[in-house]
Amino acid sequence: DAMVIQNPRYQVTQFGKPVTLSCSQTLNHNVMYWYQQKSSQAPKLLFHYYDKDFNNEADTPDNFQSRRPNTSFCFLDIRSPGLGDAAMYLCATSTSRGLNNEQYFGPGTRLTVT
């Protein structure tokens, strides 16, 4: 089945130690999104790629970066994780950026910072 896959599902990192989260998709969608969802809070968009075009949200900290080496893969890099970065990170895809296009979500990666 076509899907959005996130690896790992659970990630533990140390304060200040760089960490990379991975997302892959078999849907061949043009757009890939990264959301941060803290405990008991709504998912919040960090950034998205439309094809190779990177679009950062204005309030996304510089500590968060992303790479999209090809259509199928997108990575979230946290350069120096702080305790406040502990959250569920959700990857989503859509065929286009228009809101008539459904976003398909992966299962998420839960990040713990020790």
Partner: protein, 115 residues
Amino acid sequence: AQSVTQPDIHITVSEGASLELRCNYSYGATPYLFWYVQSPGQGLQLLLKYFSGDTLVQGIKGFEAEFKRSQSSFNLRKPSVHWSDAAEYFCAMGRRGGSQGNLIFGKGTKLSVKP
């Protein structure tokens, strides 16, 4: 400011009972509206969406939602809840005309189902 409010953090209903989850939005025009469901350990799945037209929208798994402009609401309903409906439900809003595809989510309502 654009926002989505889900007033109920946690709701418990008995299996077979009806369900209504509330969602209110704040936006200067008619937004795109969505309901997503998130089962434990799973990603978000789209239940239904409203863009225009008929204000009563049918979705998957027997869910429906009604857009009420006068109340700025988009409440989710199901006539008879099943135990498998226990999950967290998110209402989301997209900005009409926006090119970024940005969804603004509510904080979610956790649904528990009693046998």
